[in-house]
């Protein structure tokens, strides 16, 4: 589903060029779940962004669903509409749309809106009473449930999640995480999730650790 070969990535900073990823190789099969851990600043978000095509690696190969990552912005945007779904640490909901519209948004953008599947999601994520509210009227946990619902409503083959529960307290974090794992399993998607928590990481099929720009 996802494969990285010798991926390198650095940033220009005030102290010169900083290498963040230094030859990362990784592969993820369809339906597999993988936890990515590492210290703050180790490059976890950077890696995820590369997989989503939000940024381009300095060198190395990235393949998603058997196809090499496109070079043009339009190709990579199409990848995010079609195959890859993103869940961010910050929820990135559209503030001027209500919950219902936010939930349906990505599926509609991808041309895969399925009202029955959405109704299922609303029930599972317990969002029924919040549909006409706007994001600013929701708590952090509620917003994250909407964000997860938005991603899964489009039925992506690969879900990339960057500390989706990082903003939540432990109890609600656990609840949201349980929901997400259940839904990912239901849709048969592969999941690459960044997390700080070893406890959460242990619930996924595999774990990798990023240190010094390499995976261990």
């Amino acid at each position: 589903m996802l494969s990285l070969t010798d991926v390198c990535k650095g940033y220009a900073s005030s102290e010169g060029r900083v290498t963040v990823l230094d030859g990362v190789s990784l592969s993820l099969a369809a339906g597999e779940t993988l936890a990515l851990t590492g210290e703050s600043g180790s490059g976890k978000s950077t890696l995820l962004h590369l997989c989503a095509g939000l940024d381009a690696p300095d060198s190395g190969r990235i393949e998603v669903a058997g196809h090499p990552m496109g070079r043009s912005d339009a190709e990579r945007a199409a990848l995010r509409r079609g195959t890859v779904g993103l869940v961010f640490q910050q929820f990135n909901l559209i503030p001027s749309l209500d919950v219902a519209a936010n939930l349906a948004f990505q599926a509609r953008l991808a041309g895969r809106h399925d009202p029955r599947w959405q109704a299922d999601l609303v029930a599972t994520l317990d969002l029924g009473s919040l549909l006409v509210r706007y994001p600013e009227e929701l708590s952090g946990g509620q917003q994250q449930r909407v964000a997860i619902g938005r991603t899964l409503a489009a039925r992506p083959a690969l879900v990339l999640a960057d500390e989706p529960t990082g903003n939540l307290d432990e109890a609600s974090g656990d609840r949201v995480m349980a929901l997400m794992l259940r839904l990912v399993a239901e849709t048969g998607a592969a999941l690459l999730m960044v997390t700080h928590s070893p406890r959460l990481a242990a619930r996924l099929d595999r774990q990798v650790h990023l240190r010094g720009g390499r995976l261990t």
Binding site: D73, A74, A77, R80, I94, P95, S96, L97, L109, Y134
Partner: protein, 645 residues
Amino acid sequence: MTGPMIALSALLSHWARHRVQAALLLIGLALATALLTGVQAINAEARASYDRAASALSQDKLPRLVAERITVADYVALRRAGWPVSPVIEGEALIGGQTLRLIGIEPLTLPSGVAPDIGLAGDPTGFLTGKVILSAEALNDPRVRPAELPPGVALTDIGVAAGILGPEISYLLLTGDRPAPPGYALIHPATTDLSQLTESFHLNLAAFGYLAFGVGLFIVHSAIGLAFEQRRGMFRTLRALGLSARALTGLLLAELLVFALVAGAAGVVLGWLIAGALLPDVAATLRGLYGAEVGSGLTLRPVWWLSGLGIAVLGMLASAGQSLWRLGRLPVLAPAQPRAWGRESARAMRGQALAGVGLIGAAAGLLAVRGLWAGFGVLAGLLLGGALMLPLLMAALTRAGQRLPDTWARLDAGDVFINEQLALRRGLAPGDRVEQGVIAGIYPDYGNPMPQVILSWDRHRALYPLPVLRYALITDIPAAEIRAAFPRVVVEDRAAIRKASVAVFERTFAVTAALNVLTLGVAALAMFASLLTLSSRRLPQVAPVWAMGLTRGRLAQLEFLRTLALAALIYGLALPLGLALAWVLLAVVNVEAFGWRLPMLLFPGDWLRLGMLSLLAAGLAAALPVHRLARIAPAELLKVFAHER
């Protein structure tokens, strides 16, 4: 809904949640479009009138024979001797309750192509027997074709005119290149036409229009800037959800286009109303200043819709250009320090404002170097001063009279005065010679496009032994007494003329004052829009200060004082700039464009009033944003921390 439509609807949903912003954007663009199309409509209407005048009255362009008195017998004698002449009787007449310029022509001898196609072929007897008088005022006669004639002019058969004005022939039109027969003087018509005379007036109006347009675009610019800034997060999200940068830009362009078309349509209608309201005063001004007749009816031409919508779209693109350009550079991933971005953009905004001021200054500089009609920047500089020009005109006129008497004596000695136009055209100074004599002085001659020489009576006789066309005497005897004693003498009452010209200027000022108020209104709205924008942009800076313990009331107070101080500062900068612009207009542009110069007069009392006004306007514009800040819910300020990205 398809993908792009769903994304567009997400973009548009922002406006439903920010109605004031949407309204400001629409109002700003509509006003800008309205003032510009309105002014252009007025100018187009006036110019169309001049064109009609030029085409309908091309007998004005033929050489004329004049003499002290031309009778029908004189005319017949000339015709018999083979002179290709055609008689015209012309004068003012009261017809159908209106004073019209009545022109009596003799259709059979009139050179072809001189009069408009008056349909003589259809009904020659009607015209010849005076049953048909042609006039734009149309007198409800179905045989009249109003479009053919300029307003205020009636064309009729010479027999009819003789019945109304008396049998004396005013002049004879002469075809062909011939010298005058003995006893007659040949007058070649002046080459100027109305459009040349009135050009300065229209330039001023156009200047106003462009000024208002520019100011209106500031509103649009700040409303768009705010909308883009507030949606930055949404743009990122959309990109992350799979919208390409190009698609996003395309959608935003579509969104702006929708706004531009809506605002443009409203602007055209509004502009039409403005033009309709101002046209009577403009017409009165043009009649009073230049004797140009402009109809006061306005037709909503289809081309206005096109140009109005075009103006709106161009204005929108111009004001959104910067925001779109920034969007292109917006990284999908949030920069490490989001607030640095905000700080940078606030600084950029202030820098822009200063750059704008500098640009106007540069435009004025460019003007001195490159002459006149070159380019956009030059116009921008022109506009601001345009408003100042007309009031100065009057003050200058009163002063002009005082300068001349000192040198009258030299005129009697055979020297001449020339006008500024002639002096500039030929590079002459007092002491130089012209054909008519030594130049004793140069006099200002506002509004006249032609070179002119004033010489003494004796000198004129010596140089031009023509039959005398007109005598004029200046006297202190009251006009009524002369009229009673000499009924045939034309008396011009100077006091009355002065009164009439003051009245004309009052009408002129009414037009400029109305445009002034409209433009200032737009400017105030622009200030309000940008303060509103700035206030929400400053929230991230204000929130931490609030968190550190400054009350909202105190914060609001500080913001208010800051705004006033800023206004005072800008006033201090704007005043010398305005004066510089005025100087450029008076001493450079006007001289290059029209060949005459206006003295620059200063009115410090007005500056003071203006200063108070601008402080007041700034205070009013700041009132709402500041009031909001004083009352802002703590939750709003907390959001700054919660939603930071």
